[in-house]
Each structure stands twice: as structure tokens, then as C-alpha cells.
Amino acid sequence: MTKLDLTPVEEPHSSTLLSKVIAQGRYETRITMTNGEQLLVSIILPLLALTGLFVTGLFDTVEGPSTIDIATPGILALSVLSSGLTGQGIATGFDRRYGVLQYLATTPLGPIGLLLGKVVAVLMVQVTQVIVLGAVALLMGWSPNLAGLGTAALFIVLGALTFTGLGLFIAGTVRPEATLALTNLLWVILGAIGGVVFPVADFAGSVVIDYLPSAALGNGLRSALIDGSFDGAAFVILTLWGIILSVGTIRWFKWR
């Protein structure tokens, strides 16, 4: 049995931000992966939406890409919203209610460490989501443009940062019950008319929607996976949202 040494460390000895983010990321990933309800939101719901679109053939046109080719990038975008906005938002809201955040505030983790740790966890869940949703879509006849895979990955990382930022921003500023309602509501609204799944051109007078992070993520992924192209405007819009929401979260986040 090793002897317990509790001699105080005289100098500040917080780990580097990178090690803290990796540690928090590993820890959060494990919690998310073992949380049934959250996995349901993250994988099953987008899967249902994908199947629904495939069965109804909603986007089918005579000449353009098939429904599954249009729908899959949007569903991947929707799954980013699920794990980032809804999943982490709700989990963080309850952590705040039960004093877990208050405890974390007394450790060297810090708000940046917490946010980035959660982004890492969302990306880890995202890998699972891409594999599951991608495999099902391939079975349904999805043929992604391989030239756009790298761009798609970039948009997913940016989307994870932006929507985890939004989830934490809500969780860190309003009550947990309100967080639960708000993040679910946003998921439904943004998912339905925020340009995530349904391309914005389908709506009349949808100029505003194009500037939402949801549309930017959906458009970026569709351009990448349908045409293999890089949507510069969507990239700039999403990056700006990512910066605004991260800074806002770190600035206004309440630990209790």
C-alpha cells in the first residue's frame, strides 16, 4: 500500500489546457456513450428522420440528385445538432442544477476546458453517428461525392463547436427546465425550417435562414457531399457563429 502524501504543492500546478481538454473529452465521451437517453437523441432520432425521408421520397425530382443523396448530408447535420445542442445542453443543464458545475468551477478545468472537452465528446459521438447513419444511408443507395469528404469533416468539426457552444450557452444562462424545453424546441425548429435537412431554396423569402448556423452547416455538408464543392459563404457564416457562441458561453456562463 502506497503511503498517502498530502504535502501541499507550493506552486500552481494546473495541467496544460490541451491535457485538460483531452482528459475532459475522454471523460465526457464515456458518460455520453453510457447514457441511453442521450444516445437515443443522438442516433435513433436522426435515423428515423433519414428513414422517413427515404420512404417518402420527398426530394425526388426527375433529373436532380436522389432523395437519399440530398437527405443524408442534412441528417448528418441534424445529428450534430442532436449531440451538441440538445445532448450536451440538457446534460449540462442538469449538471448545473445538481451542483456538479459548481464543483467543477473549483477545479483547474475552467470554462474553456469544459467547453472544449464537451466538443471533443460531441466529435467522438459524431464518429459513431457518421458510421451508423452513413452505413444505413449507403444501404439505401446513398452515393456521396468522395471529393467532398474532407470538407464535410471540417464542417462537422465547426458545427460541433458551434452547437455545443449554443447548448452550453443556454444551459449556463437559464434554468434546467427551460434548457430542456429550449434545446428540444430549437432542435425541432432548426431541424424543420432552419435549413438543416430541407434546403433553404425550398422556402419562399428565406434570406434570413441562410445566415443561421443550422443552414450554414446543412448547406456546407450538402455542397461537399453532393457536388464535392466547398461552400465558402457557409464556411464563413458557421465560423463566425462558432466564435460568437464560444466567446458568449465563456463570458456569460454561470456555474451555478
Binding site: 504543492v9 500546478h13 494546473s14 491535457s19 485538460k20 471523460y27 447514457n35 464543483y103 483547474p108
Partner: protein, 309 residues
């Protein structure tokens, strides 16, 4: 290590503002246990939150290791350990996973394995925190506060909900921290805990420091110990009237039958003799009697009831 000067804290209330803290000042030193003692709702936890920098003082100054702890950086956090009253532990993970995770946030953490042995956490280390008993969570919370080998430790009600064995383990560990030169600040509403552990007691009531000092200093303020005795029968008016007039006889109303009587003003053996002579005159035989030194409890009662009487 920790210094609070004239700290006020008020919150918005229906009519104006409600003052939780009305000017709290005290210092806590390295290698000492400072106990914040007071009844529920006195402002102990608020004081602690402000000292830790989780909450912000409305006015006054707080210095923790020389800096203002509110929104302090990771460097300060790495030197301060905190155990919250309600734990603040995440429910979905096991104790072992939590401790190993926390250790990764520090460059020179304590040996987690040794820490778990010391607080007897090993027996439930693989259980999710939601399934732990109050005492087990309490010990885990203590371990979490010590992971970073802190210079300053805050413990909010460390003995709450502990069985006698856990209590002993926790108390021994507090003694050990003290010997290692750690500055320990704890809250308690249990007088015996303060009496046993504290080098420095800060009595807080209604948001104010009522008294502060070592246990010896606080209990030495009045060197005349009260003398108590228990009688199986009630005293008659005549018997009471005959009681030595230079002493005062009061019935301890807090005890049930048979009545306990308290004699104030005992200075020496002559006073005791006067009481026993009075017993002899009236053929009174006490079933119990005692002459005890003043306890922290007596001081506490005096301070917390004096202006209500």
C-alpha cells in the same frame, strides 16, 4: 492564506435587498483548522462560497493565497481543494473514474490509489455515485477535494451523515492535513466537532461574526463553571427562598423531569459548601450532580440566545 475583511453579501428581496452577510471578517492560517460555527441559515455556506470565489461579495475584500478568488485562474484553483455541502458529484460515473479524471487536471496530484485506501473508498469504487450512501458520497467528496494536494481546503459540513467509523477516518485525515501544513476551513453546526478539530473558531450568527478565537479563548471568557444537580421532587417556595442569597438558582427548562437545577456564581469550595448545607437543612438528596468546565456549547448558547431572552 485566507483573509476576509468586512464582507457583505445581499440579494434582491421583495422589499429592497436582503442581507445574508453583514460584515464578516476573519483570517485562516496554514497548518490550522478554522471552523465556521453557527446555526442553520447563519450564513456559513455563503461565507464559504465567497471565500472560494464561487460567489461574489457585494462589498468588502477577499484574499485567497493573495488574490481575489472570484473567477480566479486555473493556477489558483490547482492550489485550493473544495468539498461542497451537497457534494456536487456527477451521478453517472463511478467514484474511481471521477478521482482518476480529476487527477488529470493537475500536474502533481495525490496518489489516487493511496487516497482511496485512506478514505476506504475501494469497497465502493466501481459503483455509480447515484447508488452510494450519504456517508460514502461524503468520503468521496473529501477525496475529490484532496486530489490536487491543495494548500487550502474548504470542507462544508465534513461530518454530516457519517457513521462513527467514517467520522473517525475523516477526522484523522483532517489532523494529518493540519500536520502537513494545509490551511483547513470547515463549517459545522456541531459544537463537538468544532471543539475537537478547530484551532480557531468563528461563531457566525445572522450574517455576523459573534465571536472568534481559539476554543480555549472562547471558553475562558467566564471562569466560573456552572454547578448542576438533579432532584427527583419539585422544590417548594420555602425551600427556594432559603437558598443562599449570594448564589442564583435557576431551573434548566430544557431538561425533562426530574428537574435539573443550575447554580450560577460558584467561585470556590465555600460556595459549594453553602449549597450542600442548604440540601442538609431541607433533607434534599440529589440523584445526580456535576461541576463541569464551560464548553463551547455554553458559549454558543449564551451568544445565540442572549438578545432573545
Amino acid at each position: 492564506m485566507l483573509s476576509l475583511t468586512n464582507v457583505h453579501r445581499d440579494v434582491p428581496a421583495r422589499a429592497g435587498r436582503f442581507q445574508i452577510l453583514k460584515g464578516v471578517s476573519f483570517d485562516a492560517k496554514a497548518g490550522e483548522v478554522t471552523a465556521l460555527l453557527g446555526p442553520n441559515g447563519a450564513g456559513k455556506t455563503t461565507t464559504l462560497s465567497i471565500a472560494q470565489g464561487i460567489d461574489k461579495a457585494s462589498s468588502g475584500s477577499v484574499k485567497l493565497l493573495g488574490v481575489d478568488p472570484f473567477r480566479a485562474n486555473a493556477g489558483l484553483r490547482s492550489q485550493v481543494g473544495v468539498m461542497l455541502q451537497e457534494g456536487g458529484l456527477p451521478m453517472a460515473v463511478t467514484g474511481e473514474r471521477l478521482l482518476f479524471h480529476l487527477a488529470r487536471l493537475y500536474q502533481a496530484p495525490a496518489n489516487i490509489s493511496a487516497l482511496m485506501d485512506r478514505l476506504q473508498i475501494r469497497e465502493f469504487k466501481d459503483r455509480q455515485i447515484r447508488r452510494l450512501s450519504g456517508g460514502q458520497r461524503q468520503r468521496l467528496g473529501m477525496a475529490a477535494a484532496l486530489v490536487g494536494r491543495p494548500r487550502v481546503v474548504f470542507l462544508d459540513e465534513p461530518s454530516a451523515g457519517l457513521d462513527p467509523v467514517s467520522r473517525l477516518i475523516v477526522f484523522e485525515l483532517i489532523e494529518e492535513l493540519k500536520a502537513a501544513g494545509v490551511c483547513i476551513i470547515l463549517t459545522t453546526h456541531l459544537l463537538e466537532d468544532a471543539q475537537r478539530l478547530a484551532d480557531h473558531v468563528v461563531l457566525i450568527r445572522e450574517g455576523r461574526v459573534e465571536a472568534a478565537g481559539s476554543v480555549e479563548e472562547l471558553t475562558a471568557t467566564d471562569l466560573r463553571p456552572p454547578f448542576t444537580f438533579r432532584l427527583s421532587r419539585a422544590l417548594t417556595e420555602q425551600q427556594r427562598a432559603d437558598f443562599p442569597s449570594h448564589l442564583t438558582l435557576v431551573e434548566d427548562t430544557s431538561s425533562s423531569q426530574p428537574a435539573v437545577w443550575r447554580v450560577n456564581g460558584i467561585h470556590g469550595p465555600a460556595d459549594l459548601h453553602a449549597v450542600t448545607a442548604w440540601w442538609l437543612r431541607h433533607d434534599l438528596m440529589p440523584s445526580d450532580m456535576g461541576l463541569s468546565g464551560k464548553s463551547l456549547e455554553d458559549v454558543f448558547w449564551e451568544l445565540t440566545t442572549h438578545d432573545k431572552a
